[in-house]
Structure formats: structure tokens, C-alpha cells
């Protein structure tokens, strides 16, 4: 109930301000209205076919290809391939066509398979039978043939085939129960109501006689919003008009529960159902690594183009001499000669592009995708993050952001259900200053013999007793809890009677359950709602019946709810419960001061408080109220607004009864996790809808604030005294003074001896800060900057009284600040969805408030404490892995292509490739692909335990540190250096000397000369070995898999080369590689130079690593070194620190 309005806000925020869509008219049972009322306009509606598949059999190939080539990388490779096909290029089209074909085919097969599954699912849904009432009989129809206006019969546990308006049910009171688990993940039963005037039409025949039309809005995606009107034509001419709301609308995808059957009329079908309208993919989030990768790609594209340009220009400069261009031994064909020089130059440029295009390899995208996809399994598999209680592990909804987990700078966390258990217990209630404490409960179960209650204060007088009972009755009546009297029901439930767990309380709000249960322990038991009468059992075990007249539902704007009941004695009561801030201003009498003191006291303790008030209504007042409400409910336009206005009028002049305090315990290890995140250099912000004192108490408990944290308040209270402007400047001065005096580096910030600040801000002030100021531009917009400046210097920030929209706003604000930090939002409820979607990484907690957060998140975990391992271990690993993957890929392709570039200077810029086609094709696909893929899945530069123990290591990779430009330039230059070594090493070996094979191989003992293919093969061999060994040097974690893959791929290269050169391949029109590799291996100098050049290529990197480690070690490297030296000692320290932390916790 509170969630629905929150969701409304979210949807409004996400989909933009909704506009009134024009209405449609539905004729129930396709019966024309009586003449004279309205013109019968048959409207065309789509049939009930659901199409979630993307392709059909016919358009699959063109559409899928089009989709795939819309990716810029694929398009680039396609262009290269086409260029190779069209013009005479140095390498055959297969070199780029084959990998591209492979990638495209695999993707197409994958997408085709997924679509096939979707087709199957669609067919299953579309063809499943539904029962439709036609001419008074129940007829079976395929679901897809259902039309708007059909009357449908749905039986228990069946899923609604389309969006329906409930006409009648098998239950007398015209209600039915529904779970919307597959829509929003909330498995609690929700009650839906039949239209009052049609609920009597119970059988198929009766329903068939119904003559009515429904006017309602056109379909819109908001699940919780619906307005409409039903006009029922009975015998009289004047139709009866009744309002329809979301409580009458059964959504497609929901399931009927606990109700034998219902009759309902279809109003939205097929792709117009709310479920289908909500079926849209989330916007794509891109990680920082991906952005760096794209930047690198652009650099390499520039390098590629400039290489091709340089070579083209040099080529024409060089062959200006006709004897070079066309010496007698190497004449051109006639057609070549006749070609225009510009065309020749252009084709040459393209040919160079093709020759060097391997510098941006197709396989990089494939490898990165595979790494992300396969890597995410380690999160799924993680035993530490498996929750025994829920029987569930973490979920990975997108694997694109794995590495972003290692880059988080800001953590925005929800409080309730995220930091805390969301396991509510009534701790005390306070009636007129008297405090009542229900008996201790254990895990939701009342301890034996705990039927009575403790009274802290002395027993009140007679008058007090009356007030006390009124208070208890108020709590028993003012709620939307349902009672379930059966074995297995869903939602939040507790046994009412100890021992016989036959009945449970169910509600979408755990607070309410806690309150009703608490009342049970205090002697007042809510039994059931029967025939609009609420039955409660009072202390004397007597049944009291109250007629429930109106429910004024909870919403997060009003922050209160009310019920209007009539007691058996005929008195009208309005009971209201809500947040203190929304109750106190509306109270006219009662012991406000005592209650307020108690509420504040409880809030400081970290308890969730609610105030309870009531007023008596006279019959006239009640009538007036009803009129107000009904007129608001009947409105088709802006019903919510009108309802809110009506509520505002009704809920006033209260008499305060008392307050309740519900405890929500901190989650296991929440404090430890927060402390770790702090140490890891992350800023933790708590965003909550709770009130300041409660939230602050939780923050202290979870060690977000320490005792020596100086709290800066930016609250309405303070801004009332001073202007916002002054407050902001005051705070920023305080913070900056300290900042100026703090000269130490960031690392010592965690030692704790320097003053750290915590900021508390509330929703109202925040919106004032964010609001663009009206007073011109002098300090307009500045507030935001000052606010950010303050926040930047605070180690922890608490934002309370936040609306869901504001949570997202805060995240957006931080995201857009000038450092562009990486943000993470974590929450469990529907009110956190907006910030989860907004943040770079959204994490949902699979908690009690449904699954909506988990479904909209990028990752879902079961407990807040798992965030620690998620970020500090998995995030860290993923980041270093992918960073190395990206850098290494560019490096190895520089090594690969740069010799080819250098070779052009020695072959007359003729685009002669240095390597054979097979090598060109397979280099990235098979010779060097697996080691880096496995590295990027297995690498652990530091052990898991150390990462968990020492969160400061996370700072070493902060700010994308492994993918910054200096690192990138280092890798690129290393690649160029290596390429130069390979090329000129081989060059000096060949140049003008008799570099020959010893020739002992084949019977003759002569010296045999080597040609250009041997030259290329020599360079390529050195290249493959160097590049693989470079990775071996970078590997810190050698499992048998790494050994297997690294040595295996080298062996594969050798075996492949032997095979490739060992046979005259009949399908090839050239045999240039025949025996080249063997002859090379039979030459002593070739061996010597291979060894030499590999060592020379690896030398600078080794020296750089060793020197950096020795002279400027990072924390990571120190830990690594230390671990090597002091393994034994370390383990004892580890154990000690573990025990101490657990003790202190």
C-alpha cells in the first residue's frame, strides 16, 4: 500500500510526466448499450496475442544481421572485409572474414536460440485455454483469441490471461486474492474487489445477462494506476455509474489465489496489457573500463590511419623514380598502368589499412564479452555469499559491470531492510506517557508464558485505562493486515496463537504486522475482517466488532493512514496512525509533550516510531466525509490529487493517543561492512525515508558515524533559524578549514586521528539546495557546488526523509559532479529502484519488500554484508583482470602489427605482409587468445583472504588507475619496443649475411638460403613466445589451468606450424610455407636469435617491474612481498585481528 504511491513516483520519474490518455469504451459481452444513451462506436482493439520474440522465421537473417552490424566494431570489420573483397589487398579476405563470420554466426545462433525459446513460450501462452462466457455458457478459447469485452472466468491458481475488470467472485463479499509475484515480485496476497453492483452476478448465466459498459483510460504502463467508470444498465433507463480503480483491475500475469473462481471482463488485451507495456529492457549501463577501452580504440584507429597515410605518402615519394615503381623485373599489368593515380593512391591507402587492421582485433570484443560472461559465474558460485536462510545466492542480472564493482567511490545505501533486517518487533508503546513493553520475543515467536505485559509506569487510573484500551483498539483496527487461516501462505506471517500456527498476519508493510502482533501480546487480538466488520478479541476474551467504513490508505507523501469504523454501539471513530511529523500538526488535544519526548527518545535509540491519534465523528460528519471521498473516488481526472485533498480535509483535529516504537535490528556484520567500505576509500551515504533521529542512531550503530565524528547538520530545523545560504557557508568554512590544515596524504585519513565529518541532511533542505535559486545568477547554482564541496570532505553523509525520487536525484548529483565518481546504490525496496537504476552499479537486496529492487538491479545479493566481498574481492579481481586484458590485447597487437609496418620500409611500400595468412588469421584466434582469457578469469594477484582483511588495497585500483593514459602509453611503447626488437633482430640476422640452415635435416649437408617467409616466421615465432611469456610474467596465480593453457598454446603454435608447413595443402594455390618452419628450426642461429630476442623483449618490463616494486612499491606490492616473507606470522596476526574485530562488534 505504501509501495504503490512510491512506485507511482518512480514511474512518473522514469517515464516522464504522464499525460492523460483518451479513454476507451468497452461493451461488456459485446452488447450494445440501450439506444439513446450513447452512440455505439465499435472500437478496434488488438487481439490477445503476446509477442515477446524479436524475429520471425522470415526476417531473422536480415534483421539480425542489421542489428549486429549496428555495433560499430562489427561494422568496422565488415568494412575491412568488403575492402578486401573489392580491391586487390595484401591479405586474403579470409583473414578478416573468417573471424568476423565466426563472431557473427555465434552471436546469431545465440540470439536465434533465445528467440526460439521466446517463440515457444509465446505460443504456450497464446494457445493456453481460457474460459469465456458466451450466451450463458462457458466456452473454451485459446488465449490469443480473447477480445476486449469478453467475459472471462478464471479459476483458482490460474493466471489472468489479460487485464480484467473484476465483476464477481465466488466469495460473497466480492473480493478475491491475487499474487503479483511474476509482475513485481511481491508474493504477498493482495485483495481485489468486485464492482459492488455486479458482484451478485455469480453464475455464467447471470453474468451473461449483465448489460454494462466500461469507460476507462487507454492502456498505460503504470501497474498501480487505473481509473475508469462502469455504467450498468439495469431495467431502468438511467445507468448506474460506479468508479473503477486499480483495486478492481486484475493484471495479466497475476495469479488468482484462495478464491474458487471469478468473472471478469477483458479491457486490455495482448500487447496493450500493463505487463506487456512494462516489458522493456533497462537502459544499458556502460562501465568505466569500457569507456577507457573505447578511448584506446580511437587512439588505435588514429594510429592505424596515420600508419596507412604515412606509408601511402612514402610509397609515392619512393616510387617517383619509374625504375623503382616498375623495374624491368617487376612490370605492372596494362590495366594497372592505366588506372588513375588518385585511384591507385586510394586503393593503396585502403590496402595499407587492411594490412594493419589487425591492430584492432575482432577477438578483443569476443574475449571481453566471454570474460565478463564467464567471470560473472564466480559471483553466482560464491559460497560465502550464499544465504542458507533464504536458500539463495547472489544474482547477476548484467555481467557488463563486473569490473565496475572494483571502482566504486560512493556507496548509497538504503537503511530499512538493507542496513537493518527489516524484521520488525514492537518494542514499546507509549500511551499518554505511560510506557508498555511487550514481552521479549525470539525470532518472531513469543517465548513460552509470555502472554501478559510489563508496565514500567504505575498503573493508570480509570480514565487512563479507557485511553489505553482505545489506543490498543486503534492499533488493532487501523491497518490493512489480512489474516490467513491456512497452512502455507506467503508474505510476512506470524503465528497468532502459539503452538497452533493456523493463522498468519499478512501485510505488505512489516511494521503493521509487528504492531498487530504486538497488540496480540498486549492482549488485543485482531481476528479477521468479516462482512466489512473487523473482529477483535479483547483482554477479557470478548469479541468486539467494528464495522469498517472507510480506509484512507497510506502513502509516502502523507506518511499516515486512517480508518473510519463504527463500533457496535453506533459510534463513529476515525483512527489514524502515521509519522510524528504528520500527526503532531494535526493534533488538537492529548498529552502531546510527553508523547513527543518519548518519540524523540525512541528515535534516538534507533527505533521506528509511529504516532496514533483518533477522533470521534458524528453521523453528519461521517456523511460529509463519505461524500467527500466518493466524489474524489469517482473522478476520472486527477483522482489522486482530489483524493489527497479530501484526505487532508478529513484527517485533522485529532486527539493524540500515543506512540509506538518498532525495532528494526541491524543486519549481521553491517557495521563491519561499512567500516571496511570506509577503509577502502569509499564514501558511504545512507539515504532513508526515516526520520533523522532514527536514522542517525542506526548510523552510529552501524559505525557510519564514530563517536569522534563531528556531525554537521543541514536540516530544516537549522535552516529555519538561519538562511540556507548562511548555513551552507558556515558548514563549508568549517569543513574547509580543517581540510586546509590537513596536509597529510589520503592514506592516513583512515588512521582515524584526524577529525572527520559526518553530514546529516533532510529531504526538504536537499530540495532547497538543489532547487535553482530564484535570486538571479549571483549565487544561483552555487549552492549545489558548496553542498558538493561539503559532502566531498565528509566521510559519511546521512540523508533522511528522502522521497524515492530524491534518492535518485542525489545519486545523479554526485554522478554529475566534476570528478565523475563511480556510484553504487544498494537497496531492497521498490522505493530504491530509482536510485538503483540511476547509479553506475545498482545492487538489490533480496529482502522482504518484494523482489522489485532485485529485479531492477544489476546484481542482487541476500545480505548487506555480502557487499564487502562483492566489492573488495570480486570487484577488485574483475577490475585488475579486465584492465590487464584490455592493455594486453592492445599490446599484443602492437607487437603483431608494428613489425609489419616496419617491413614496408624494406619492401618498397608494397603492402607485402610479413606473416603468412594462416598466422595472420590465427594469431588472435588461437595462438594468443586462451592464455589471456584464462588469465582474466583466474588471476589473483593477492589472496582472497588478504583482500577481505585489508580493505585499503581497494584504494590501489581506485580511479581506474590501471587504465590511465600513462599506463596505456607504457604498454603501447612496450609493444613498439618489442616489435622493433623482433623486427630488427631478425633484420640484422638476414641482412646481407649468409643466414642459413645447417641443413643436416635432409640428407644433404649444405647451406640453404632463407627467404622472406622464413623471415616472417622467425619474427612471428619470437612474437608468439614473447607475448605469451609476458603474460606468464604478469601472472601471479599459477593454477594447473594457467600452466596448461600457457604452455599448451605455445605447444599448439609449434605443432600447428609443423603441420602447416609439413604438407603440400591441396586446397591452397600457394605453398609458400612448405617446410619453412622446419628449416628454420634446423638452423642454430635461428634458435640462438629466438632465445636472445625473447629475452631482450622481456627485459625492460621485468626491470621496470622490479625497480618499481623495490623503489616505489604500491600497497598491493608490499602486501605481496610481505606475504612471501612472513606467511606464518601473518596467519597469526590475521586470526588475532579476526577475534578482536568480532569481540568489538
Amino acid at each position: 500500500m505504501d509501495l504503490s504511491s512510491i512506485r507511482k513516483l518512480i514511474t512518473r520519474y522514469c517515464t516522464g510526466e504522464e499525460s492523460w490518455v483518451d479513454s476507451r469504451t468497452v461493451y461488456i459481452g459485446h452488447k450494445e448499450p440501450p439506444p439513446g444513451t450513447e452512440a455505439y462506436i465499435p472500437q478496434r482493439f488488438p487481439d490477445n496475442r503476446i509477442v515477446s520474440s524479436k524475429y520471425t522465421f522470415w526476417n531473422f537473417i536480415p534483421k539480425n544481421l542489421f542489428e549486429q552490424f549496428r555495433r560499430i566494431a562489427n561494422f568496422y570489420f565488415l568494412i575491412i572485409f568488403l575492402v578486401q573483397l573489392i580491391i586487390d589487398t595484401p591479405t586474403s579476405p579470409t583473414t578478416s572474414g573468417l573471424p568476423l563470420f565466426f563472431v557473427i554466426t555465434v552471436t546469431a545462433i545465440k540470439q536465434g536460440y533465445e528467440d526460439w525459446i521466446r517463440h515457444k513460450a509465446d505460443n504456450a501462452i497464446n494457445q493456453c485455454p481460457v474460459h469465456v462466457i458466451q450466451h450463458g455458457k462457458v466456452v473454451r478459447k485459446q488465449s490469443q483469441k480473447l477480445r476486449v469485452g469478453d467475459i472471462v472466468q478464471v479459476k483458482e491458481n490460474e493466471t489472468f490471461p489479460c487485464d480484467l475488470i473484476l465483476l464477481s467472485t465466488s466469495r460473497e463479499d466480492g473480493t478475491c486474492f491475487v499474487t503479483t509475484a511474476s509482475l513485481d515480485g511481491e508474493s504477498s496476497h493482495k485483495t481485489y474487489y468486485a464492482v459492488q453492483d455486479t458482484k451478485a452476478f455469480n453464475t455464467a448465466e447471470e453474468v451473461d445477462t449483465l448489460h454494462a459498459t466500461i469507460e476507462c483510460e487507454q492502456p498505460q504502463p503504470d501497474l498501480y494506476k487505473f481509473v475508469g467508470r462502469i455504467n450498468i444498465y439495469l431495467d431502468r433507463d438511467e445507468p448506474i455509474a460506479r468508479p473503477l480503480g486499480s483495486e478492481n483491475l486484475l493484471l495479466r500475469g497475476a495469479t488468482l489465489k484462495n478464491t474458487e473462481y471469478i468473472h471478469a471482463v477483458a479491457i486490455y488485451t495482448g500487447m496493450e496489457t500493463k505487463m506487456a507495456l512494462n516489458y522493456q529492457s533497462k537502459s544499458q549501463k556502460r562501465s568505466a573500463v569500457e569507456k577507457s577501452m573505447n578511448a584506446y580504440l580511437i587512439v588505435y584507429l588514429c594510429i592505424l590511419i596515420s600508419k596507412a597515410l604515412i606509408n601511402t605518402v612514402l610509397k609515392y615519394a619512393w616510387q617517383a623514380n619509374p625504375n623503382r615503381d616498375e623495374p624491368w623485373y617487376n612490370q605492372k599489368t596494362e590495366t594497372e598502368r592505366q588506372r588513375h593515380v588518385l585511384i591507385r593512391a586510394f586503393t593503396d591507402f585502403l590496402a595499407f589499412m587492411v594490412l594493419f587492421n589487425y591492430i584492432i582485433p575482432v577477438s578483443m570484443y569476443v574475449t571481453v564479452e566471454m570474460q565478463k560472461f564467464l567471470g560473472s559465474y564466480f559471483i553466482l558460485w560464491d559460497d560465502d555469499m550464499f544465504d542458507e536462510e533464504l536458500g539463495e545466492g547472489p544474482l547477476v542480472n548484467t555481467s557488463d559491470l563486473n569490473e565496475e564493482l572494483g571502482q566504486v567511490e560512493y556507496v548509497f545505501t538504503d537503511k530499512t531492510g538493507t542496513l537493518t533486517e527489516n524484521n520488525m518487533e514492537l518494542r514499546e508503546c507509549c500511551v499518554d506517557g505511560h510506557v508498555y513493553v511487550p514481552h521479549a520475543v525470539c525470532n518472531g515467536q513469543i517465548l513460552p508464558g509470555a502472554a501478559g505485559m510489563d508496565m514500567i509506569d504505575s498503573s493508570p487510573g480509570v480514565d487512563g485505562k479507557e485511553r489505553e484500551e482505545l489506543f490498543f483498539r486503534a492499533l488493532c483496527l487501523c491497518h490493512t493486515v489480512q489474516v490467513k487461516e491456512e497452512e502455507t501462505v506467503d508474505g510476512i506471517k506470524r503465528g497468532i496463537h502459539q503452538g497452533k500456527s493456523t493463522s498468519f498476519y499478512i501485510s505488505s508493510s512489516p511494521d503493521e504486522v509487528a504492531l498487530v502482533e504486538g497488540m496480540n501480546r498486549l492482549g488485543f487480538t485482531y481476528l479477521r475482517l468479516k462482512d466489512s466488520h473487523m473482529e477483535i478479541l479483547n483482554r477479557e476474551d470478548e469479541m468486539e466488532r467494528f464495522e469498517l467504513l472507510e480506509v484512507l490508505n497510506f502513502d509516502s507523501v502523507r506518511r499516515r493512514m486512517s480508518v473510519i469504523v463504527r463500533s457496535s454501539s453506533g459510534e463513529y471513530y476515525l483512527f489514524c496512525k502515521g509519522a510524528d511529523s504528520s500527526i503532531f500538526p494535526r493534533v488538537v488535544s492529548g498529552k502531546v509533550e510527553q508523547v513527543r519526548a518519548r518519540v524523540e527518545h525512541n528515535a534516538v535509540e534507533g527505533l521506528r516510531t509511529l504516532c496514533v491519534a483518533y477522533k470521534k465523528l458524528t453521523h453528519e460528519e461521517y456523511e460529509e466525509t463519505c461524500r467527500l471521498l466518493n466524489s474524489a473516488k469517482l473522478a476520472l481526472h486527477e483522482r489522486d490529487k482530489k483524493l489527497a485533498e479530501a484526505y487532508d480535509v478529513i484527517e485533522k483535529d485529532f486527539i493524540l493517543l500515543g506512540a509506538t516504537a518498532v525495532e528494526d535490528r541491524l543486519q549481521d556484520k553491517a557495521a563491519d561492512t561499512i567500516e571496511s567500505l570506509h577503509k577502502a576509500g569509499m564514501k558511504v551515504w545512507v539515504l532513508t525515508g526515516d526520520k533523522m533521529e532514527t536514522a542517525a542512531a542506526t548510523c552510529y550503530a552501524s559505525r557510519l558515524f564514530h563517536r569522534n565524528t563531528q556531525i554537521l547538520e543541514l536540516t530544516t530545523k537549522r535552516t529555519e533559524e538561519q538562511s540556507l545560504h548562511d548555513v551552507l557557508f558556515d558548514l563549508s568554512r568549517t569543513v574547509l578549514r580543517q581540510h586546509g590544515s590537513m596536509t597529510r596524504d589520503t592514506f592516513s585519513g583512515l588512521s582515524g586521528d584526524c577529525q572527520d565529518y559526518g553530514l546529516i541532511i533532510d529531504g526538504a533542505t536537499l530540495s532547497a539546495v538543489l532547487k535553482p535559486t530564484q535570486e538571479g545568477t549571483s549565487n544561483g547554482g552555487n549552492y549545489k557546488e558548496i553542498f558538493l564541496e561539503i559532502c566531498r570532505n565528509c566521510s559519511a553523509v546521512l540523508c533522511c526523509r528522502m522521497a524515492p525520487l530524491q534518492k535518485a536525484q542525489i545519486v545523479k548529483l554526485i554522478k554529475a559532479s566534476k570528478e565523475h565518481p563511480i556510484t553504487l546504490a544498494i537497496g531492497d525496496g521498490a522505493n530504491d529502484v530509482s536510485m538503483i537504476l540511476e547509479a553506475h552499479v545498482g545492487i538489490g537486496i533480496m529482502g522482504k519488500e518484494g523482489r522489485q529492487a532485485a529485479r531492477n538491479s544489476d546484481y542482487a545479493i541476500t545480505k548487506f554484508k555480502h557487499l564487502k566481498k562483492m566489492l573488495l574481492v570480486h570487484g577488485h579481481y574483475y577490475y585488475i583482470r579486465i584492465a590487464e586484458l584490455v592493455q594486453y590485447f592492445f599490446y599484443k597487437n602492437v607487437c603483431f602489427i608494428f613489425p609489419q609496418f616496419l617491413y614496408q620500409f624494406f619492401c618498397g611500400f608494397s603492402q607485402q605482409p610479413l606473416y603468412d595468412t594462416a598466422y595472420l588469421t590465427l594469431y588472435n584466434i588461437s595462438f594468443t587468445s586462451l592464455p589471456i582469457l584464462l588469465y582474466s578469469l583466474m588471476e589473483q594477484h593477492i589472496n582472497i583472504d588478504i583482500l577481505k582483511r585489508d580493505p585499503t588495497l581497494y584504494r590501489d585500483i581506485a580511479k581506474n588507475s590501471l587504465l590511465r593514459w600513462p599506463t596505456f602509453i607504457y604498454w603501447t611503447f612496450l609493444g613498439i619496443f618489442d616489435a622493433v626488437v623482433f623486427f630488427f633482430g631478425a633484420f640484422f640476422l638476414f641482412d646481407n649475411t649468409t643466414f642459413t640452415s645447417n641443413g643436416q635435416l635432409m640428407a644433404t649437408n649444405t647451406q640453404m638460403m632463407f627467404g622472406n617467409w622464413t623471415f616472417g616466421t622467425l619474427v612471428f615465432t619470437i612474437l608468439v613466445f614473447t607475448v605469451t611469456l609476458k603474460l606468464a610474467l604478469d601472472t601471479h596465480y599459477w593454477t594447473w589451468i594457467n600452466h596448461f593453457v600457457i604452455w599448451g598454446s605455445l605447444l599448439f603454435y609449434v605443432i600447428f606450424s609443423l603441420l602447416w608447413g609439413g604438407i603440400i595443402w591441396p586446397f591452397l594455390n600457394y605453398q609458400r610455407m612448405y617446410y619453412v618452419f622446419m628449416q628454420m628450426l634446423s638452423s642454430g642461429p635461428a634458435w640462438l636469435s629466438i632465445i636472445l630476442l625473447i629475452i631482450v623483449s622481456l627485459l625492460p618490463d621485468v626491470v621496470k617491474k622490479v625497480l618499481c616494486r623495490a623503489l616505489w612499491p604500491t600497497t598491493t606490492e608490499r602486501i605481496q612481498t610481505k606475504r612471501q616473507c612472513l606467511t606464518a606470522e601473518q596467519s597469526t596476526i590475521f586470526m588475532l585481528s579476526q577475534t578482536s574485530s568480532s569481540v568489538s562488534f
Binding site: A181, S182, S187, N323, R324, P327, W328, Y329, N330, Y377, F378, L380, D383, L390, G391, G393, N443, G444, Q445, F906, C907, G908, S910, M938, I944, T952, F988, L989, N992, T993, T994, F995, T996, M1002, Q1007, M1008, G1011, N1012, G1016, H1036, W1038, T1039, I1041, I1064, N1069, Y1070, Q1071, Y1074, G1084, L1088, S1089, I1095, L1099, V1102, V1106, R1109, A1110, L1111, R1118, C1125
Partner: protein
């Protein structure tokens, strides 16, 4: 109690999601606790520190320097003699030949160069011709051949590959061997004479077989017509390459060295990697242990000058070289090994210093906890 109610909920959720999955599905959701899945495979975790790398550097230094010295000494002991006979200079005996070159001349131009060897060549001597500024690695050139024709394929003989253009057909007959490489085959004839101190010339005997790769000669290159000894008949429908003076079946009189399997031809067909290159021409075998292969003294090199290089500013050389276990004379490897060895050794010393100075610091304190 709580747990059971939760699992009931879970089961329900599964039912709604995918019917038919029972309670068994819940249990399978718990991950297996294998070392691989938990990323706790046993692993060797080496770290490159000054301490661990130090020995490697010293060892590399200590191994490379001797190897380098050995290579260098070997290389410098290899005798090599080189003479340029292009004839660009007025003074050169081949000047006239180079100036008056024409493709159509029927009488070959001859020139004689005199040189003397200061030291005798003891073992087998390899005779090379060297060309400079000749782009055998030009792309248009490299691909201008038909390997299946050279492999004796009859169809390719009649219909050579398109790659051979513009050296594919001549007067409507297919060229055999086609392509630019074959067409431009080196066709100077070099003869070496030893001039006794008393003035008599003795021709040095050459071995012209065994200069090509064994696999090339026996597998990759084959004459058409299989074992048919009559090469002339096999090549009957073909034209000779434009620039050749005689057809392919008249390259040699020895049937084992004629046609496509002529070793001079095979050597030429292996395109050189760089524009300045050498190719093996002949082998001068050692006669006996008593006399050196090429004794000290005066020699004359008689050149039949058929091959024009002046147009592209090329050079032609004749090289005599002895070989060792590491092949021909190549000072680069030796020098490179000595340099790299010394650098490693030097780095080893530097690292030792650094390790000594900073190593302890790292290993002891200074680690923030």
C-alpha cells in the same frame, strides 16, 4: 519456523516462474563448494622481486657472455671474400658490359675480374651471388608465381594462375614457368680460375647440385609429365619466359637438374626477405685434407654478363664464404649476445645494490595495517 516459511515462499516463487520445478530445484541453487568455483584452486604464486630476479640476471649474464664470445670468435674466423662486378665504374672490367646491355643481343658479353686471396680457404667454400636494391620482396613480385605449375600440374601448365600477369602468356602460349620471379631469374654465369704463380689458369670445379632445399627439389618442385624423361615434349605447348634466353627444359643437360627442378631456378624462386640479398650459387668442395679448397693466391672471375641491374641502381657481387657450425659469417649474433649478457650482468649488479638498500625496508615494517 522462519526458515521453513521462507522456503515455502521460495517454492511458490519457483512455481510461478517455471511450473514443474519442484523443491529439488531449491537445493541445486546452492553452489557446489569446489575449489575452482570458489576461486581457491591451489596455485603457485611467484612474485618478481629484486631478490628473485637477481640470480636470473646473473645467470643470463654468465651464460650469454661466453656464448657471445664464442659466436663472435667463430664468426670472425670464418673467411669471407666479396667482389663487386656490377661495372658502374669506368675502371671496372665489366663497365662495357653493363653499359652496352641489351635484351636482344645474341652474343653474350663477357668480362674478367682479377683478385687475390690473402688467406687460403680450408674447408668447403660456398659461392654466392649478391644483389642489392633488388626488391624480391615486393608484393607484386612475391605473388607473381604459380606453385601448382611448378609442382608439375598439367592444367596449370596450360592455364597458369592469374597472379602471373603480366608474365602469364606470350604470343597466346602459356609461359612456363610463369610469373615475374621466374622471368627475372638471375642468369649471369660465373666461373672461377686459379692463377698459378707461374701464370697457368686452372678452373675451380663447382658443384651445382645440393644448393636448394631438399624438400623444394624433391617435393615442391616437379617437372610436368611425371617420370617422362622427355622434358621438351612436356613443355611443348608453352612459351619461355620473355627475358630468358633459353627455355626451361634447356637449363641444364643433367636431367636431374633440368626444368623446374633446376636448383639455380629453385634457389631463385625462394624470394629474399630484404632488398639486399645473397643467393647460393655454387659449392666448391674440398678435394682432400692435404690441400686447401682455395689456396692463397691470385684468381680470376669470368663473368658472362647477362643480368642488367643498372636501371634500378642495383649492384651485383660475388661472395666466397666458408661456413662453421653456426652458418656463414655473421658478427651480429655474437655482438648481440655479448651486449645483452653484459647489460644483464650490469642490471644484476644494480639490482643487487637496490635489493640490499631497499629490500630490507620492504620486508620489515612500513606496512599500514
Amino acid at each position: 519456523m522462519m526458515a521453513s516459511s521462507y522456503s515455502a515462499k521460495e517454492e511458490d516463487g519457483l512455481h510461478s516462474g517455471s511450473a514443474g520445478l519442484g523443491g529439488a530445484a531449491i537445493r541445486t541453487r546452492k553452489p557446489d563448494n569446489t575449489a575452482f568455483k570458489q576461486q581457491r584452486l591451489p596455485a603457485w604464486q611467484p612474485i618478481l622481486t629484486a631478490g628473485t630476479v637477481l640470480p636470473a640476471f646473473f645467470i643470463i649474464g654468465l651464460i650469454f657472455i661466453p656464448i657471445g664470445i664464442g659466436l663472435y670468435v667463430t664468426s670472425s674466423n670464418i673467411k669471407e671474400f666479396e667482389i663487386d662486378y656490377t661495372g658502374t665504374d669506368m675502371s671496372s672490367p665489366c663497365f662495357n658490359c653493363s653499359q652496352s646491355f641489351s635484351w636482344n643481343s645474341t652474343t653474350p658479353c663477357r668480362c674478367v675480374l682479377f683478385f687475390s686471396l690473402d688467406q687460403p680457404f680450408e674447408s668447403n667454400v660456398f659461392m654466392y651471388y649478391g644483389l642489392s636494391n633488388f626488391y624480391q620482396n615486393h608484393r607484386r613480385y612475391v605473388k607473381s608465381r604459380d606453385d601448382s605449375q611448378l609442382n608439375g600440374d598439367e592444367r596449370s601448365l596450360k592455364e597458369p594462375s592469374k597472379e602471373c600477369e603480366p608474365y602469364r602468356t606470350n604470343e597466346n602460349k602459356p609461359i612456363a614457368p610463369c610469373g615475374a620471379i621466374a622471368n627475372s631469374m638471375f642468369n649471369d654465369t660465373l666461373d672461377l680460375f686459379y692463377i698459378d704463380p707461374n701464370g697457368t689458369k686452372t678452373q675451380i670445379p663447382f658443384m651445382k647440385k645440393g644448393i636448394a632445399w631438399w624438400t623444394d627439389k624433391h617435393v615442391k618442385f616437379r617437372n610436368p609429365g611425371g617420370s617422362n624423361p622427355n622434358l621438351t615434349a612436356a613443355f611443348i605447348e608453352t612459351a619461355k619466359p620473355v627475358n630468358w634466353r633459353k627455355p626451361v627444359y634447356e637449363l641444364d643437360t643433367d636431367p636431374e637438374n633440368n626444368g623446374f627442378i633446376n636448383e639455380d631456378f629453385i634457389v631463385w624462386m625462394r624470394t629474399a626477405a630484404l632488398p639486399t640479398f645473397r643467393k647460393l650459387y655454387r659449392i666448391i668442395q674440398k678435394k682432400n685434407n692435404m690441400t686447401p679448397t682455395l689456396p692463397r693466391g691470385n684468381y680470376s672471375l669470368e663473368v658472362t654478363y647477362n643480368y642488367p641491374v643498372r636501371s634500378f641502381e642495383g649492384r651485383k657481387r660475388m661472395i666466397l664464404s666458408a661456413i662453421s657450425w653456426m652458418g656463414g659469417k655473421n658478427p651480429f649474433l655474437g655482438i648481440a649476445y655479448i651486449t645483452v649478457g653484459s647489460i644483464c650482468f650490469f642490471l644484476g649488479v644494480v639490482l643487487l645494490f637496490i635489493h640490499h638498500k631497499y629490500g630490507n625496508r620492504n620486508n620489515s615494517s612500513d606496512i599500514p595495517n
